[in-house]
C-alpha cells in the first residue's frame, strides 16, 4: 500500500510539474526592461517630437523651399521641394516621425490615463499634443490613418485604414474643444511636463490656440464650421502674449532639428531664399538683421566657417542677398560671383547658425505672434468683435510679438523697442484697408519662419504671400506649387489596400493633388 501511495504521489507530482505553466508570465517578463513608466515621461517624448529633427529635415527640404523662405541649390540628398520633385527619403519624414513618435506616444498616454481620474489633466494634455501632430500630418498628406492610427500595440492593428481629411478635422476640433475645456487648474498638476511645467492655464490657452488654428484652417473648406470653431476658441481664451508661447527648448542632447542640420554637414548648403530676404528688406523689417547673415566673398563652406570664427559675418539688413528660387549649384555659383564682394553660392545670405538656427535653438510650436494674426483675420471676417480696429490691433500685436520673440533665439537677435516703433512708423507696415488678408498672410508667413508645416499650410489656405512659382525645369508641378507630399513607398507596399482606397477618394498620389482643406 505504501508503495502504491508513493508511486501515485510521484506520478501526480510529475504531471503537475509539467502541465503547470504557471510562472511563465513572470519568466517571460524582462527583468531589465521597463514594463511601466510614468505616462508623463512618455508625454514629454511626444512633446519634444512635436518638431523632431526629422521634421526639421522635412522643413528644410520641402516646406521652406515651397514657401520660399530657405533654399538649397544642392541636387544630392537635399533635393526635393527646391526642384518641386519627389524625394522619397524626405517626403516620408513627417509621416514616420509623427506616427512613430508624437502620435504613438501621446496615444500611449491617452490609453493609459483615459480611465484614471487622477490624471485627467495629463490625459487632456496628451490629446492636445496628438491633435497638433495630426493637424501637421493631414495638412502634409491629406487623408491619413486617424481613427485606427497608433493601435499597433493596443489592438494589434498593423495596417490601419485611412480617414478623410474632413472627418479627421471634425475629430481634431472635437478633441481640442473637449480637452481644452476639461483641463482643470485645480486638478493634478503634472510637474514633470516639459512644455509648461504643469501650468494648466497655459495648456488651456495652447489648446484653444490650436483650436483657433484648426478653425481658421477651414475658412476655405468649411467656412461655417470655421466660424463656429473660431468663436468657441476665442471664447475659451487663446495665447496673446509671448509668455504663453508653446516652445520646445532644445539643448545639447535634444538638438533643434533644423539647427542640427544647419550646424552639421549641410551647414554651408542652405540659404535664405530671395523672396523672403527681399520681402523683409523692402519693408525695412528689423527681423532681417535678427535672422540673417552673409559671408561676403565666401567660396566654400570652409570660407563661411572662417568668417564665423572671425566673427566677420555681415548681419546688416541692407547687405543681405537671398538665393534665387530654383537655383542649381551651377547657376548659384555664378550668381554668387556677381554679389557685392564676389564669391560663389556660399556668399548668399544664410539663416544665422550662431543665432536663430543654433543646435540649441528653441522651436516655437504655437506663438502669440501667430495667434494674434489669426485673430486679426477673424476680426476682419467679423467672426470676433471689433471690426477693422480690432483687426489692426491684433495685426500689430502679432507682428510685435514675433519681433519680440527673436530675443528668445539669442540675445544677438533681440530687436530693440525703438526699431519696432520705427517699423510701424512706416504706413505700409500698418494694416491697411483693402489689403488686410494679404498683409495678414504675409506676416503669418514671416511669423511662422522655421515652422515649415505651419507656414506652408497657411500659404496654401490664403494664397499669401503671392509667390512666383519655382521655375525649376524638372518640376513635377509645372508652373505651380507643391500641394501635398506623396505617401511613403512603404505604405504603398505594405498597407496597399487602405492607401489605394484613400488615393481613389483623394486623387492621384503626387505632389500636385489638392487636398480637401485647400481645394
Amino acid at each position: 500500500m505504501k508503495k502504491i501511495i508513493n508511486y501515485l504521489l510521484l506520478s501526480i507530482s510529475l504531471v503537475l510539474m509539467i502541465s503547470c505553466d504557471k510562472g511563465f508570465d513572470e519568466l517571460n517578463t524582462s527583468k531589465t526592461g521597463v514594463i511601466s513608466l510614468d505616462p508623463a515621461f512618455v508625454l514629454n517624448n511626444a512633446i519634444i517630437n512635436s518638431f523632431s529633427s526629422a521634421v526639421g529635415t522635412s522643413t528644410l527640404t520641402y516646406e521652406m523651399p515651397i514657401v520660399q523662405q530657405m533654399f538649397s541649390s544642392n541636387t544630392g540628398v537635399l533635393f526635393g521641394g527646391n526642384f518641386n520633385q519627389t524625394s522619397f527619403s524626405n517626403t516620408v519624414l513627417n509621416w514616420t516621425n509623427y506616427f512613430q513618435n508624437s502620435i504613438n506616444y501621446s496615444s500611449d498616454v491617452i490609453s493609459r490615463t483615459k480611465n484614471d481620474a487622477k490624471r485627467t489633466n495629463l490625459y487632456n494634455m496628451a490629446r492636445i499634443i496628438k491633435a497638433n501632430a495630426f493637424m501637421i500630418l493631414t495638412q502634409t498628406y491629406g487623408d491619413v490613418p486617424y481613427s485606427e492610427a497608433a493601435t499597433g500595440y493596443t489592438n494589434n492593428n498593423f495596417f490601419p485604414k485611412y480617414d478623410t481629411q474632413q472627418s479627421i478635422y471634425a475629430d481634431i476640433i472635437k478633441e481640442l474643444t473637449e480637452a481644452s475645456g476639461a483641463l482643470d487648474p485645480s486638478g493634478t498638476i503634472e510637474t514633470s511636463d516639459v512644455l509648461y511645467s504643469g501650468n494648466i492655464v497655459k495648456w488651456k490657452k495652447l489648446g484653444y490656440s490650436l483650436l483657433l488654428r484648426a478653425g481658421m484652417r477651414l475658412t476655405k473648406a468649411d467656412p461655417t464650421t470655421a466660424q463656429a470653431t473660431v468663436v468657441a476658441a476665442f471664447a475659451g481664451g487663446v495665447m496673446i502674449s509671448n509668455a504663453d508661447n508653446a516652445i520646445i527648448k532644445y539643448d545639447a542632447n535634444f538638438g533643434n532639428g533644423i539647427g542640427t542640420t544647419l550646424t552639421g554637414t549641410e551647414a554651408a548648403n542652405f540659404h535664405l531664399a530671395q523672396p523672403f530676404v527681399d520681402f523683409l528688406k523692402n519693408s525695412s523689417d528689423p527681423r532681417l538683421a535678427a535672422i540673417a547673415v552673409r559671408y561676403v566673398g565666401a567660396k566654400s563652406g570652409a570660407d563661411q566657417a572662417a568668417q564665423i570664427t572671425a566673427g566677420t559675418g555681415d548681419k546688416t539688413a541692407a547687405n543681405q542677398y537671398g538665393l534665387p528660387v530654383g537655383s542649381t549649384d551651377g547657376n548659384a555659383n555664378g550668381a554668387g560671383g556677381s554679389l557685392p564682394g564676389g564669391g560663389t553660392q556660399f556668399a548668399f545670405t544664410q539663416a544665422d547658425r550662431t543665432r536663430v538656427v543654433k543646435k540649441t535653438s528653441p522651436m516655437f510650436i504655437v506663438t502669440a505672434g501667430q495667434t494674434n494674426l489669426l485673430l486679426a483675420e477673424a476680426a476682419f471676417l467679423g467672426w470676433i468683435p471689433g471690426g477693422f480696429v480690432a483687426a489692426s490691433n491684433y495685426f500689430a500685436a502679432g507682428v510685435t510679438a514675433h519681433m519680440n520673440q527673436m530675443a528668445s533665439y539669442d540675445p544677438g537677435s533681440a530687436i530693440a523697442a525703438a526699431d519696432i516703433t520705427a517699423y510701424f512708423a512706416i504706413p505700409a507696415n500698418q494694416l491697411t484697408v483693402g489689403t488686410e488678408l494679404k498683409q495678414i498672410g504675409e506676416q503669418y508667413w514671416v511669423a511662422s519662419f522655421l515652422h515649415g508645416p505651419e507656414a506652408w499650410a497657411n500659404f496654401r489656405r490664403t494664397g499669401y504671400p503671392a509667390l512666383t512659382p519655382n521655375p525649376s525645369s524638372g518640376s513635377e508641378v509645372p508652373g505651380g506649387f507643391i500641394n501635398r507630399l506623396s505617401y511613403p513607398p512603404s505604405e504603398i507596399l505594405v498597407n496597399s489596400t487602405n492607401v489605394q482606397a484613400a488615393i481613389s477618394v483623394q486623387g492621384p498620389d503626387n505632389l500636385a493633388t489638392k487636398m480637401w482643406l485647400f481645394k
Binding site: N6, Y7, L9, L10, S11, S13, L14, L16, M17, I18, S19, C20, D21, K22, G23, F24, D25, L27, N28, T29, S30, K31, T32, G33, V34, I35, L37, D38, F41, V42, N44, N45, I48, W95, Q100, N104, Y105, D108, V144, E148, A149, A150, T151, G152, Y153, N156, N157, F158, F159, P160, S192, V194, D251, F254, P488, S490, E491, V494, N495, N498
Partner: protein, 1112 residues
C-alpha cells in the same frame, strides 16, 4: 521515520512546483528515497555454481565486451579483453545468453558444464543493431519507422578536425556539414535534410547522453537581417567580424562512444520544438569495454598547410589606369596597393612604394607569387587524451583527460582546449541503477582571424593585394613614424595585414561544464521509471580591440580619429557571458508481450529552463596610447542583458509489434513555451510510424535476400524557435539625458509585440526501404521525405501609421522534399582482403510557398553581402536566393535582333560606355546545395586498413566576394581582355579600352569604349554582381586514412594490450570545382540564413598527420 518525512515532503514539493521555482534536487532525491525504500525484493542469493569460458569470433579471435546474461535474471557479466568471462550462477538450470552487437545472439544451457567456450557468428540476417533514439531510449534499429544514421567513434576520432563535426562531411546521408574558413576554433554549420526555416534557425539539436546541450555560435554576422539571433551571437561594434565558435567544439572526439543522427521530425517528435531540424545524439563513454581497469592513450597530430587556389593575372602590375606607382604618392597616382591596373610588367621595371622612403624608391616591379603561402604559416594540431576505464558486474566508469593544442595558420592565432570527461554507471541494487556523465572543458581561443569585413581583415587585403606588392616591403613598412598604419593603398579600409597581426587582438576564454545524472528503477520486470537531471553551464569571457575604420591609427593626431582631442584611438570591448540550461525529465516505460504481440508504452515529461546573462563594456578615447583596458578608456558604455526562457513538456509513445516483424509506433508531445502569450502558448504534435520487416514475415524468402524492411512515418512538430524571450510585451526605455530637467520616456523599440503569435508547425512524411543482400555484401537504405513547414514566424514591415515599424507574424510556409540513399557494398571479401564501399547521398530542395501571401515574387531579405548583393527568400522559388543586379539585356522591343544583348551606357563623356545594371535586382538561384554526399572506399589487406573518402556538394550558387574584388582590382584573368591589344592611347599610360559587345539604351549597336578599369569595376560602381556568381559545387578527395593494428605483434606478457597507428590526411585534393581563385567551401558567415555569400576568409587547409591509439 524517514518514510514519514518523505511522505510529508510530497505535498510541499508539489506546491513548490506550481508556486515557485522547481527544486529538482529535491525531486531527484525523493525519487531515489522512494526507489530504495520500495525495494522490497529479496537479494538474489548466488548458488555455488561458477561458469567460465572464452568468447571468440568465427575466426577464433577473442571478442571483448560480449554481454553474458543468465536468462530470465539480471545476473550477468561481460567478456574481458581476451574474451574470457566468469559468472556465478543463481539458478541450477541456467541458460546463458551471449550477445554482442553485430553478432548473432547465442543461447547455451549450462547443464553440468563449468567451462563454456562460445564462438559467435556475425549477424547478417537480422540486424539487431541498437540505436539510441529520442530521450536516450535504446531501440532495435529494425523497429524504427524512420531514418537514422549511426556514426562510430572511429569515424570521428581517427581522422579528425578541431571541431569534430567537420570530420563527418560526406559521411552521413542527408546531413550537410560546412566548416568555415575562420580558424581552428570556428563554427561547424550542420544542416539535416536541407534547411526549411525562412528566417529563423536551421541547426539541429545537439543531445549528449539524452540531454540537450547548447550550440550557440558566436560569429561573423554582418549583414544578417534574419531572426536567428537566439542561436547566433555577433560581436559588438564594427570591425571585429570573427568566428568565436560554437558549442560542439568543446567536445573531445576521444570521449565519444557513438553518435546517431535522427533526421526526420518523426525521429525527433519526442524531442519537441528544438528538434525540428533534426537531432544529433552523442553518447559519451561511460564504462570500459574490458573487465577491470583499462588505460587508453590516444595521440593525434596533424600539420596543416593552406591551399592557395588563386589564379590571378601576372601580366599587368600594380597601378591604376595604366600608371604604376611612380612618383612618391602624388596624384593622380597615389598608393595603389590594392589595384593591379598598372602598366604591363616588363623586365627591369621598378616601382616606388611607401613614398619612396629608404629603399622603397626602387622596388622591382615584378609579379609576386604565392603571397598567401608566404603570409600564412603551417598550422599544427596536437591532441593527447588519456582515459581510464573500468567495467564490472555492477557498473563501470570512464575518466578521460584530453588536451588539444592548435596553432592556426594565421600567425597570431591559436586555440587550446582541455577537457575532462567522466562517465559512470552503477547498479546500486537489483532494481536501482545510476548513470551519469560530467564533461568539463576549458577553451582559449586567441586572435580568431577577422574575416569578411573590409576593415582589419587580413584575408580581404591579401586576396586583393596588388600583384606586384612584395610582402616583405609591406611588412617592413607596416607602421608610419607616429605608430599608425603606413598606408599602402588609397583604399585605406584594406588595412596592412602585418599591422592587423600586431594591433588587432582578441581573446576568448570559455569554461564549460555539462552533464547529467539519471536514476533508473525497475519497478517490475516489465516496468521501469527513470529520472534525469541535466545541466549545461558555461561562462565565456571575450575581449577585443577594434580600430577606427580606414587609415588604422592609434594616434590621437590622426585626422581620421574618432576620439576626443588628447585621447588615443581605438575601441576596446570586454564581454562576459554566462549560460545555463537545465533539463529535468522523467520517464515511465512498460514493456509486455501478449502472445504474438509486444507492447511498449512510455510516458514522460521534461522541464527546460535557460538563462543567458551578458555583461559588456565598450570603451573608447584612451588615456594612454595602446593600452587596452576598461580603466584606460575615457568613454565607457556598459550594457547588461538577461534572457530567460522555459519549455515544459509532456510526451508519450506506444509501440506495438507483431511477431517482431511488424511495428507500429505512435508518439505525442505537448509543449508549453514561456516565450508566447497565454492562450497561444502550447502546441501538441503527434507522430505515427511503422516498420515492416518483410523478410521475417515470409515463410520462405529468396536466398539472396538477407533482410528487408519497409518503413513509413508521419510526424508533426511545433516550435517557438524564432521568438525570443520577452517578445510579447512592450517595454519602455528612458532617455539617458533629461530634457529640461525631466525624464523622457520611449518604447525600447518599434517592433510591436504580437500577442497572437503561436508556435509554428511542421508536417513531415517519410518512407524508406532497407535491404541486405548476398550475405551482407550489399546493403541499401533509401528514404524519401516531404516536409511542410507552416506558420513560420517572420518579421514583417507594417504601416508606420500603426505607430511601429515591424512586427512578427505567423505567415511563412516552406516545403522541403528529398531523397537519401546509403549504399554499402563489399565487392571483394576474401580471408586476406576486403573492400568495403559506402555511398551516401541526398537530394533536397526547399521552396518558399508563402511569406505574407502566396504571391510569387514576394520576398524578404535575410542577409546582405559586405560588398554587394543579398540573400532573399522569394515566394515560389527555392530557399536562399542570391539576389542583386545583373547585366541589363536588350528586350528586343526596338530591334528584335538585339534581344538579349548587353546594354551599355551611351555616355557623353569619352570612354565611359560601361555595362548597365538591370533595372531591378534579379535572383541568380539558390545558394543551397541540392546534392550532398560522398563515397568511401575501405580496403583491408591483412590488417592494413586503407580508406579514402570523396565527397561532394552540388547544385548551389555562390556570390563570391573574393572574385568581386579580384575583378574590380584587376586581378582576375578575365580582366586581361581589353588590356591586351586594347586601343592604346599614344600617350603611353593607357590601360587599354574595351568596346563592349552589345547595344545602347536605344538598341543601337554599342561603338563607344570604356576604360578597362572602369569596365570591370561595374561590379562595384553599378552593383552588377552577375559576373561573380558561380556554381558553388565541388568534388573533393576529403580524407585518406591508412591504419594498421599492431596488437598481434605484442606478446601476451606485454603491458600494452592493443596498439593501432593510422596516418591521416584531410582535405586532400580538389577534384572539381567551378569557382575560380577560392575553395568553394571557404565561407565565413556563421549566421544561419546568410548562405551563399562568400567573402575573403582564411584559406582552407590540407592536413596531414597520424593518430596513435594505445590501450594498456
Amino acid at each position: 521515520m524517514d518514510t514519514l518525512l518523505h511522505h510529508l515532503s510530497w505535498p510541499r514539493f508539489i506546491m513548490s512546483r506550481c508556486f515557485g521555482r522547481f527544486n529538482y534536487l529535491l525531486f531527484f532525491f525523493a525519487f531515489i528515497i522512494i526507489a530504495i525504500d520500495s525495494n522490497a525484493t529479496p537479494k538474489v542469493e548466488s548458488v555455488a555454481i561458477t561458469v567460465s569460458g572464452k568468447v571468440t569470433d568465427e575466426t577464433g579471435l577473442p571478442i571483448p565486451g560480449v554481454n553474458i546474461l543468465e536468462k530470465g535474471t539480471t545476473n550477468g557479466t561481460s567478456s574481458d579483453s581476451d574474451g574470457n568471462y566468469t559468472l556465478n550462477l543463481t539458478n541450477e538450470n541456467a541458460v546463458l545468453t551471449f550477445s554482442f552487437i553485430g553478432y548473432a545472439t547465442k543461447e547455451v544451457p549450462v547443464g553440468s558444464q563449468t567451462t563454456i567456450n562460445v564462438s559467435l557468428a556475425p549477424d547478417t540476417k537480422t540486424l539487431e543493431e541498437i540505436v539510441v533514439t529520442a530521450l536516450g531510449i535504446e531501440k532495435s534499429s529494425k523497429s524504427l519507422g524512420y531514418a537514422t544514421s549511426k556514426v562510430t567513434s572511429d569515424q570521428i576520432a581517427v581522422n579528425r578536425s578541431t571541431n569534430m563535426m567537420n570530420t563527418l562531411q560526406g559521411k552521413i546521408a542527408g546531413v550537410n556539414i560546412s566548416s568555415l574558413g575562420t580558424g581552428p576554433a570556428g563554427t561547424s554549420k550542420i544542416r539535416i535534410r536541407g534547411q526549411s526555416s525562412i528566417n529563423g534557425q536551421n541547426g539541429p539539436l545537439i543531445v549528449v547522453n539524452g540531454v540537450p546541450i547548447d550550440n550557440t555560435n558566436f560569429g561573423t554576422n554582418q549583414g544578417n537581417t534574419a531572426g536567428d539571433g537566439n542561436n547566433s551571437v555577433g560581436n559588438r561594434g564594427a570591425g571585429a567580424s570573427t568566428d568565436g565558435g560554437d558549442g560542439l567544439q568543446g567536445i573531445n572526439p576521444d570521449d565519444i562512444e557513438s553518435m546517431s543522427v535522427l533526421k526526420g521530425s518523426t525521429a525527433a517528435a519526442l524531442y519537441g520544438s528544438r528538434a525540428q531540424n533534426g537531432v544529433i545524439m552523442i553518447t559519451t563513454k561511460s564504462r570500459g569495454t574490458n573487465k577491470g581497469v583499462g588505460v587508453t592513450y590516444n595521440m593525434n597530430y596533424t600539420d596543416e598547410t593552406i591551399l592557395d587556389y588563386t589564379d590571378y593575372q601576372k601580366v599587368y602590375g600594380q597601378g591604376e589606369y595604366g600608371a604604376g606607382p611612380a612618383s612618391p604618392n602624388a596624384a593622380p597616382n597615389p598608393n595603389t596597393g590594392q589595384w593591379s591596373w598598372g602598366p604591363k610588367i616588363l623586365p627591369g621595371m621598378t616601382q616606388i612604394l611607401f613614398d619612396g622612403q629608404g629603399s622603397n624608391a626602387n622596388i622591382p616591379y615584378v609579379a609576386q607569387n604565392g603571397i598567401l603561402k608566404q603570409f600564412y604559416r603551417n598550422g599544427q594540431n596536437l591532441t593527447n587524451t588519456v582515459s581510464l576505464s573500468t567495467n564490472g558486474d555492477k557498473g563501470g566508469m570512464n575518466l578521460s583527460v584530453g588536451n588539444l593544442d592548435s596553432k592556426g595558420v594565421t600567425p597570431n592565432n591559436s586555440y587550446t582546449r582541455n577537457t575532462i570527461n567522466l562517465g559512470f554507471g552503477y547498479d546500486l541494487n537489483e532494481k536501482l541503477s545510476f548513470k551519469g556523465n560530467i564533461n568539463y572543458s576549458n577553451e582559449y581561443n586567441k586572435n580568431p582571424p577577422v574575416v569578411s569585413d573590409q576593415d582589419n581583415s587580413i584575408p580581404t587585403s591579401l586576396y586583393a593585394m596588388a600583384n606586384t606588392m612584395p610582402l616583405d616591403v609591406l611588412k617592413a613598412n607596416a607602421y608610419n613614424a607616429g605608430g599608425g598604419e603606413f598606408n599602402y593603398s588609397r583604399f585605406t579600409n584594406r588595412t596592412n595585414p602585418y599591422w592587423v597581426l600586431n594591433e588587432v587582438k582578441q581573446n576568448i576564454r570559455r569554461d564549460r561544464i555539462f552533464g547529467n545524472i539519471s536514476a533508473k528503477y525497475d519497478i517490475a520486470k516489465w516496468l521501469y521509471a527513470q529520472v534525469r537531471v541535466g545541466q549545461d553551464y558555461w561562462s565565456r569571457d571575450q575581449d577585443y580591440i577594434n580600430l577606427p575604420t580606414g587609415k588604422a591609427s592609434i594616434n590621437s593626431s590622426s585626422i581620421y580619429s574618432a576620439n576626443a582631442a588628447g585621447f588615443y584611438n581605438g575601441v576596446f570591448t570586454q564581454e562576459s557571458r554566462r549560460f545555463r540550461e537545465t533539463n529535468v525529465d522523467f520517464l515511465l516505460s512498460a514493456t509486455k508481450t501478449f502472445g504474438d504481440f509486444g507492447l511498449n508504452v512510455t510516458a514522460g515529461g521534461n522541464q527546460m529552463y535557460r538563462r543567458f546573462d551578458t555583461n559588456s563594456v565598450q570603451v573608447t578615447d584612451f588615456v594612454v596610447k595602446g593600452l587596452y583596458t576598461v580603466q584606460n578608456g575615457r568613454l565607457k558604455d556598459p550594457t547588461y542583458d538577461l534572457n530567460e526562457r522555459a519549455v515544459n513538456s509532456l510526451y508519450g509513445s506506444a509501440e506495438v509489434n507483431y511477431k517482431k516483424f511488424l511495428y507500429l509506433n505512435i508518439t505525442g508531445r505537448n509543449d508549453w513555451f514561456s516565450t508566447l502569450s497565454p492562450g497561444h502558448r502550447d502546441v501538441f504534435y503527434p507522430s505515427i510510424s511503422t516498420s515492416y520487416v518483410f523478410t521475417e514475415s515470409f515463410s520462405s524468402k529468396p536466398g539472396w535476400l538477407d533482410f528487408g524492411k519497409f518503413r513509413a512515418a508521419y510526424a508533426q512538430a511545433g516550435s517557438d524557435g524564432d521568438v525570443g524571450a520577452y517578445n510579447n510585451k512592450l517595454y519602455y526605455g528612458v532617455n539617458a539625458a533629461q530634457f529640461g530637467g525631466q525624464a523622457v520616456g520611449n518604447y525600447s523599440n518599434l517592433v510591436v509585440p504580437n500577442s497572437q503569435l503561436h508556435p509554428m508547425k511542421l508536417y513531415e512524411t517519410e518512407v524508406g526501404l532497407e535491404l541486405k543482400m548476398l550475405d551482407g555484401r550489399v546493403g541499401i537504405d533509401v528514404a524519401a521525405y516531404n516536409k511542410l513547414t507552416v506558420d513560420q514566424i517572420i518579421p514583417v514591415q507594417i504601416s508606420d501609421a500603426s505607430g511601429f515599424t515591424n512586427t512578427k507574424l505567423n505567415l511563412g510556409q516552406s516545403q522541403s522534399r528529398g531523397i537519401e540513399l546509403m549504399l554499402n557494398l563489399v565487392p571483394v571479401r576474401t580471408s586476406n582482403f576486403q573492400w568495403d564501399f559506402t555511398f551516401t547521398g541526398a537530394y533536397n530542395i526547399t521552396k518558399v510557398l508563402k511569406l505574407f501571401t502566396t504571391k510569387p515574387g514576394e520576398n524578404i531579405t535575410v542577409g546582405t553581402h559586405v560588398f554587394d548583393g543579398f540573400v532573399q527568400q522569394i515566394v515560389g522559388k527555392e530557399l536562399g536566393q542570391i539576389v542583386g543586379y545583373g547585366f541589363r539585356r536588350d528586350d528586343g522591343s526596338i530591334n528584335p535582333d538585339h534581344k538579349g544583348m548587353m546594354v551599355f551606357s551611351s555616355s557623353t563623356f569619352n570612354d565611359d560606355n560601361r555595362p548597365l545594371p538591370t533595372l531591378q535586382p534579379i535572383s541568380f538561384g539558390s545558394a543551397l546545395p541540392k546534392w550532398v554526399g560522398g563515397f568511401n572506399n575501405a580496403f583491408n589487406y591483412k590488417g592494413v586498413l586503407v580508406s579514402f573518402l570523396i565527397d561532394f556538394k552540388l547544385g548551389g550558387k555562390v556570390l563570391s566576394g573574393t572574385n568581386f574584388n579580384a575583378m574590380r582590382h584587376g586581378l582576375s584573368k578575365e580582366t586581361l581582355v581589353g588590356r591586351e591589344g586594347g586601343a592604346l592611347d599614344p600617350s603611353g599610360n593607357d590601360p587599354g579600352k574595351i568596346v563592349g559587345v552589345g547595344v545602347d539604351v536605344n538598341s543601337n549597336v554599342n561603338t563607344g569604349s570604356a576604360k578597362v578599369e572602369d569596365y570591370y569595376s561595374v561590379v562595384r560602381s553599378q552593383h552588377i554582381i552577375e559576373p561573380v556568381i558561380y556554381n558553388a559545387g565541388y568534388w573533393k578527395l576529403r580524407q585518406v586514412t591508412i591504419g594498421y593494428d599492431f596488437t598481434k605483434f605484442l606478446g601476451s606478457k606485454s603491458p600494452i594490450k592493443s596498439l593501432r597507428l593510422s596516418f591521416v590526411a584531410n582535405n586532400v585534393l580538389m577534384l572539381k570545382k567551378w569557382i575560380p581563385n577560392v575553395d568553394p567551401e571557404s565561407f565565413s558567415y556563421t549566421s544561419d540564413n546568410v548562405v551563399g555569400l562568400e567573402s575573403p576568409s582564411v584559406p582552407t587547409t590540407r592536413s596531414l598527420g597520424f593518430n596513435l591509439n594505445v590501450k594498456f
